[in-house]
Symmetry: C2
Subunit: 228 residues, 2 copies
């Protein structure tokens, strides 16, 4: 991939340096959805840096809908793990012919990771109309961008992150005393790892393959001529 910038309009002093640009592309390329962790703790300051990165994410109408609940109560962590395991079995059943294949996959690292975060959308989001009149789900889009910031910052610092979405939001809401109207969207497992997967784990495990760029890029209309 050629990372040479095309920046005629930007004053030289404001351009990103070549290593800075390379760092961005490297974090994007080497980020992985991790399920294998060391239990070695990470520093609270480091975790806050990642949350700060998330908080610099874009948000529709500047609503900043994201909330982060740090789980430090080990009993609560175990309850969350138990619930995810229950949901894993229900998912396995729902997968039909791929049940056995699915059951061989490691789908979460909740008990082993250094830090577990519940990420949720705030309550009272109906007050925000800007950019959401026809698509209220843009709050989820914003919070997901924030999580991607967190993920990339952590990857740059060599810390693994896994986004677990195998849960019933109502159950997690109850477990974490979240108010009515709030919506948990992610369990983030965060911690040191032995190594990052060389490719997405579901690719390594043969669950699916990466699509060709020509299958996801169209011009003017769905599935017409492609980009060069």
């Amino acid at each position: 991939m050629n990372n040479q910038p095309v920046l005629q309009k930007t004053p030289d002093s404001e351009q990103f340096s070549a290593p800075e640009i390379a760092g961005v592309y490297r974090a994007i390329r080497e980020r992985r959805d991790m399920r294998h962790f060391h239990s070695q703790p990470i520093e609270a300051e480091q975790l806050l840096r990642f949350i700060q990165a998330a908080h610099q994410g874009p948000s529709v109408g500047y609503m900043q809908p994201w909330r982060f609940i740090r789980i430090t109560d080990i009993e609560l962590r175990k309850q969350i793990h138990q619930h995810v395991n229950d949901e894993r079995l229900l998912t396995a059943q729902a997968l039909g012919e791929r049940t056995n294949e699915f059951m061989r996959l490691k789908v979460e690292g909740i008990l082993a990771c250094a830090e577990l975060l519940v990420v949720g959308l705030a309550d009272k989001r109906e007050d925000y109309v800007f950019g959401r009149r026809t698509m209220p789900e843009m709050d989820l889009a914003s919070a997901s961008c924030a999580i991607q910031n967190f993920w990339l910052a952590a990857r740059a610092e060599g810390i693994g992150v896994g986004w677990v979405s195998m849960f019933d939001p109502a159950q997690i809401r109850t477990l974490c005393a979240m108010p009515e109207g709030s919506q948990p969207i992610a369990l983030l497992c965060v911690g040191h790892v032995e190594k990052f997967y060389p490719a997405p784990m579901l690719e390594v495990e043969g669950w699916d393959t990466r699509r060709l760029l020509s299958d996801i890029v169209f011009e003017n209309a769905w599935e017409s001529s492609k980009l060069p």
Copy 2:
């Protein structure tokens, strides 16, 4: 912000260099939702680099739900712009007492930007159950992470991106001949800019302020004790 990595477990050769880490945090910090563009074209190769960065995003069950439609037909671009402007007026009405304040804001740069992309979720997503049994909306979460990759890669290269969500999905689906079951989620305005806003435009314009970190980070339960 202290970006010193804490990486005891990672072999030295695999660590990100200090400038690489700084680049990631800088892109996150300086990324903006842009509405002001130069019309100067950007190279197709550069646009593809950003799409490739998006395609390296995480996806639930590795479904890779994102699709990018590059709008090169100027008449189509004008039709999209017209529709967004109609929706802008409806949003203004819905905002009640903030209508006039809203109408003074620039909310899109669709006609001025170098490239306009429609980003959508693919059709036939109901085939994917992995990680979506209880939360089918995780496809939107994945595609949003992909768009954040795009945004950060573009920012690193000095290119501005604006995510416009002021549209009726059904209208955009029709305009771009998208199949039933697909879902447009973003109009991405991409192009050269005179300068990036020093802070989020809605903060600069006084629409809202950035929340304190202590308002978005909780421990074990909603609004109990905070992180140090």
